[in-house]
């Protein structure tokens, strides 16, 4: 399944979501930016990654390489001319597709946030878990982190994953957008001014003659 704004127009944007909890916190914001792009004459597509949202595949069976392949397949399926990848979703961006990486982060940092959420929750429950200890378990047999079942392969791949240095995508920093990233918030939120700015930056790049 995918969230799609498609009127068969020439500029066609593949949107790759942030990963895990950040995907939920940013989904509405990204959808709002896509709505603005639609009004600007840009078609856009936000596919569900295998194992996420309405995908029927089990999340714990997914690998980073599998997600990269899925991103390539989606780019071909929708005939994408550009890509907008968000946060750790930047790790999946097809390197040859021009576009943008919005507030990119490494796989290690994405995992660290999930590991820390679990260790803090464990501490509150009176059990002692450490980031290092959990990492050892996760590398061997996978682990559920903040409600996300991450397989051993995915965990190990993410620990090493950094954005492709040769990619065709420009980086959009949060400072370019203004305000605080929506992924920092405890609840999924929406900031119309940030959505305006993100859509404007992308539309300018896609519609210039």
């Amino acid at each position: 399944m995918a969230l799609v704004f498609d009127q068969g127009r020439e500029p066609r944007l593949l949107v790759l979501p942030a990963l895990f909890g950040e995907a939920n916190q940013t989904r509405r914001q990204i959808a709002e930016a896509m709505r603005r792009l639609d009004l600007s004459g840009v078609d856009s597509f936000l596919p569900d990654l295998p194992g996420c949202n309405e995908s029927r595949q089990p999340l714990e069976m997914q690998t980073l390489e599998g997600w990269r392949t899925a991103a390539q397949v989606a780019a071909a399926h929708f005939g994408a001319t550009h890509v907008l990848a968000i946060r750790a979703g930047c790790l999946l961006a097809p390197p040859t597709l021009p576009g943008w990486r919005y507030a990119p982060t490494t796989g290690a940092k994405a995992l660290r946030g999930l590991l820390r959420a679990r260790t803090i929750a464990a501490r509150e429950a009176g059990t002692a878990e450490t980031i290092e200890g959990l990492s050892v378990i996760a590398r061997a047999q996978g682990l559920e982190l903040a409600g996300w079942s991450i397989g051993a392969g995915m965990f190990s791949e993410l620990e090493q994953a950094v954005a492709n240095a040769d990619s065709q995508q420009a980086v959009i920093e949060q400072n370019d957008i203004g305000g605080a990233g929506l992924w920092l918030r405890a609840e999924p939120g929406y900031d119309p001014e940030q959505a305006d700015m993100l859509a404007a930056l992308v539309a300018m790049g896609m519609l210039e003659p």
Binding site: K109, R112, G113, R116, I120, E124, A146, A180, L184
Partner: protein, 114 residues
């Protein structure tokens, strides 16, 4: 000490020099504002004795995780499991003292690349 949280100080990552105390203070307020979605004026008015964990309803365990992740990112430090105790999160002054100590001892030119 009053710091205008609207000004967004940036630590020069290229510099081998540790950021000044006031820069850490301003960055820490900015991080708290961003993570907890607090009013800039409210965070600007925090004193050393202002209570954090257990006093700010916004600061639950998930927010603590986000707070630490952002502190690591923006202050270029690593927060170890052993660092986390009640004292460091009890007051703003406690958290600031922790952050300052970490920034001073952090290896220069830490890897903040993406």
């Amino acid at each position: 000490m009053t710091i205008d949280p609207a000004k967004e100080p940036v630590i020069a990552r290229e510099s081998a020099l540790a950021p000044s105390r006031s820069a850490v203070d301003a960055l820490l307020r900015e991080i708290l504002r961003d993570v907890l979605v607090l009013d800039a004026e409210l965070v600007g008015g925090f004193s050393g004795e202002t209570g954090l964990f257990g006093h700010l309803p916004e600061l639950d365990s998930m927010a603590v995780a986000s707070l630490f992740t952002e502190m690591e990112d923006r202050l270029d430090i690593i927060i170890e499991d052993d660092d986390v105790d009640g004292e460091m999160l009890e007051t703003y002054g406690g958290l600031l003292a922790f952050a300052e100590a970490k920034v001073v001892t952090a290896p220069a030119g830490g890897d903040n690349s993406i």
